[in-house]
Subunit: 334 residues, 4 copies
């Protein structure tokens, strides 16, 4: 039984606590912590865990085998470094850290510790739809992937959501999952800005078309449209030399009514990726004993950070921006 301490007990944190408590095999939440005592108390009620006022204390608690970080992004770096030092297993919600520099610090600390401790919460790699595509590509039956057409559509966002958040909060999932899907690394980024929807506001260019090029020359376009109104609509088509594959959509009944046949589209990511959230955490727990990470790791977190930075720069310049890592990929992560 993996004894987990959860740092960050907001909505997402409590979701994970419920998941760990009710659905996941082989784990239990024994400690919780939040800067807001009230949130921590509510969380403790779900799982019966001990409340820690100080997250560092939670990390170092003897009965805590593993740390689950769901605090705001800016707070991740400190908790990560402390947990690495304490040799605890770590699940960290995305982003790894809010700057590429901090990500690199964490990468180096983990490498120095010599143990693979960190799994990053990019759940899409655990989605059945992407996995089916990855498996199909692996058969070789379709030749090499050449182009990816994707959409990341969201019904609507709040007024505090601005243009760079389309990268950091939205496209960030494509950034992680797509290079994993085609087993490749990004080389450059561009952002095309279409006419803005009437449902947006002055601080948000919506929709956007984000384009990425990989080192092998795969060209990716991602339509990011966060006020599309009609649903949470994730699509991915992989065009290969010997065929094109479209990711399956979630299975819903087809309904004949009102002179149309229709199928439901999900309206939020928690329904759309429900199974993926469960599986990423179960996988992390399952691998804890063996001391391995099969999901996205700290290096993936660093790559996501530099790719996001390039896209944000490209939003401003309108140019094709290079994506360059400050260091070579360490042997440790190969």
């Amino acid at each position: 039984m993996l004894r987990v301490g959860v740092i960050g007990c907001g909505g997402m944190g409590r979701d994970h606590i419920r998941r760990l408590t009710e659905k996941i095999q082989g784990a239990e939440v024994v400690a919780v912590s939040d800067v807001f005592e009230e949130s921590a108390r509510k969380a403790a009620e779900i799982c019966g865990a001990k409340v820690y006022a100080d997250s560092k204390e939670l990390i170092n608690a003897e009965n805590v085998d593993a740390v689950f970080i769901v605090s705001p992004g800016f707070a991740h770096v400190d908790s990560l470094l402390q947990a690495i030092e304490a040799g605890k297993r770590i699940f960290c919600e995305k982003p790894l850290c809010t700057t590429a520099e901090d990500c690199l610090k964490v990468v180096k600390a983990e490498e120095a510790a010599g143990k693979h401790l960190i799994q990053l919460g990019f759940m899409r790699r655990y989605d059945k739809g992407y996995q089916q595509i990855k498996e199909a590509l692996a058969t070789g039956e379709y030749g090499e992937p050449l182009i990816l057409h994707c959409t990341h559509r969201n019904p609507e966002v709040g007024t505090n959501y601005n243009t760079p958040m389309a990268v950091h909060d939205t496209a960030i999932h494509e950034i992680d999952v797509l290079h994993w899907l085609v087993d490749d690394e990004y080389e450059s980024a561009q952002v095309v800005m279409p006419r803005v929807t009437k449902y947006s506001h002055s601080e948000l260019k919506d929709p956007q078309i984000m384009m990425l090029r990989t080192k092998k020359g795969v060209c990716i376009d991602v339509e990011v449209f966060v006020n599309c109104k009609f649903g949470y609509d994730i699509n991915c088509e992989v065009v290969c030399e010997d065929g094109a594959l479209k990711m399956a959509q979630p299975a819903y009944p087809s309904i004949r009514k009102n002179a149309a046949v229709s199928t439901a589209i999900d309206t939020d990511c928690f329904v759309r990726f429900k199974d993926a959230y469960d599986k990423e955490v179960q996988d992390w727990v399952d691998n804890a004993e063996a001391g391995v990470i099969t999901g996205p790791n700290a290096w993936d977190g660093y790559l996501a950070a530099i790719t996001a930075d390039a896209l944000v720069k490209a939003q401003e310049t309108g140019q094709i921006e290079k994506i360059v890592s400050a260091v070579e990929k360490p042997e440790f992560y190969k």
Copy 2:
């Protein structure tokens, strides 16, 4: 140029006159007739044809090469026999006649005349959807057909529409097209009566499941649901030894809106089978010179009549009713 006289100038008749005048190559309407003078006059305005008070006179007019019968069903038999006697080419809207006996009379008259003169207005044989299925079956790639699952759904019907009309006015199209589709003849009929929809009335059992068995043992079920509310929805799946084929639906855009992706369903047969109506008439005109009939003929009209009779009987008895022809299929129609 085939000079056509049209008998029956109601809504359907005027539709055909417009079709013959505006769309069909190689035909012109030169004569029209209707028991209501007003209808005939309106029709004449569309095409500039001469109005005949008496349909028999129209049939025998020298400049009339071909007779197009769109009068009420009970009036067909007289016009058919007169036109056969006059040696005119004939297009007759369904039904051939309202009784099997009259149908047989027409069949025998045509046979006696020794010329294939009559094409019957079962337009579905000209629908691209059915034709694609028939072509696929002809390749042999799917083996023998074993089962047909069909639906004939209609948004709603008037209060004068009653239980037997579900056969005579609705399923009659399946009766003709399905045996042609699998190149076979009917042997027996049964009707299953499900719970009645709240949208029906005391004289109408709706929906019904009509079942036909062919001589080769193909079993057919047709859901006839004339108050289905949602659309005019024609489906046909042919289950074969080596695969199952579903007829294509009309092509409409797929639309993402309101948390669903949807595609339109037609709401009436004139839109659904628009192209088929045009093609059946063009085909009749194209074959006129060569003196052949490639569409449904008088014998098909007789078969439809005895099959419909068996289904109406089966509606009442709840039993499996035999479908027996009073005569062997004449050599003339083979």
Copy 3:
């Protein structure tokens, strides 16, 4: 932790043992038994359980809280009666018993014991596809169900598979799930026998169309085609007064290749209903402590038996056969 003893350690039994051991939360297999010692030994290796030569001894073992019956159908009745007597919780693979009489015996024994102990292994009620339809019907948005069109297609069967097995081994799943889906009971049965596929043999009429009528008048047709060659293809369309709903198919990528766009169809029931198998067992375990059964119960097993008997009789007579329960539904099961 529910301590489970498994009776029957063949292929299916070992599948369930693996499931209970690896996937299910809150259960462990502590005892196994099989008439073939070798099978029991293999099973024990999976889960580390104690092997019992005698299933009755296993049932009565003190550390066994629950009995999981996966032995051949004819052996169920004895184990069921013994387990009821011992007051153990029971999961019994379908069928409950091989005769309606034995089913009734078990029903009465459970009723006499006064505790809901038995869950029957009809996994389809746990399939997401059926559940989505049931939820949609429950909204009332579609009015009353009137007709169900279903298919149960299987790629191929062995030469020992004969005509009645199309009911007992195949349609039995539709028998259970469909009346549950529309919350109704069966009243009569009929079987239509189409032309036989070339892939069948003299002892097997394949395909068959099985028809059931419920007390509320819902008419059901199930195409049972066990040598359809192309896949394990389960379909269900519910035609209601205010719309028609088709069950979702499993989600697979859509692939463009060889002048076609295609989507995979499963080829066996274990892949198709993988999640349903897991969920039925988890649900049984979850409800064990509370002493309730939310899945199919012993009475459902009895209803399946008398419905199957009527369908087998209808296969022979070609007539509509009544489905009559020997007793009224006991209060205990309402």
Copy 4:
């Protein structure tokens, strides 16, 4: 009856002659001409027309009401200017001329003549799929279009097909139809070059992603993939403020076979756009008497030329290239 003279009697020319002779209402081919006498003779056999050795003579023949130009692109300009001078009605296969300069010359000649004479052979505007989308946009129900995602995929091309031909011979159809679809004009162009498929050769970068931006800010991406192997696959999705619309695909049966359900994709443009070819010519004939052009006109031909030039330049530079007209749109074409 419109008396048509056809210039250019190669494969495409003879296709149009067959169309004009057999399918089109109200036209007859009375004159043909080709630099290869043999081609002209073959063409004359189809329609019984008189053969002219000199195309100018054909244009000026008294019994020729209209000129149909299907000669190679470089020869168009002379025939167009002669036909305008002769005041003949003109149907010209794409391209209008091979250079923007020549296109402008033709535009000015037509304007000077003061009569709308030229229809250009961009048949896609007559395709039902695009028309359904255009009609849907016109309802206003979907708000303004923001993004178009398109594919133009072709099974394979010959070895003489090179990189700029991906614009001139392939994307040229999207260039014309897409700005018409959203009722807008192009402002800039970019081309992204993904990894090249193994099925291409050194002179051809395949696939390519061509991007166009309109004056209203609609951003268009067109995947041009001429060796995609699997089919002739034309897709168009219009993302609007209030919904997204995908163009219907041609209707084919859905077939269950080999563990998959599949639907055919066309393999060449003549099958895919068969109806559109017929309709564009019929429309031209229908409008001839009234002296109007409702299809693509000479100005559209000029716009296509300058857009294609910008895309070819963008293929070389990798930059975003402006699309600038040398003259304002003349009143004559508004």
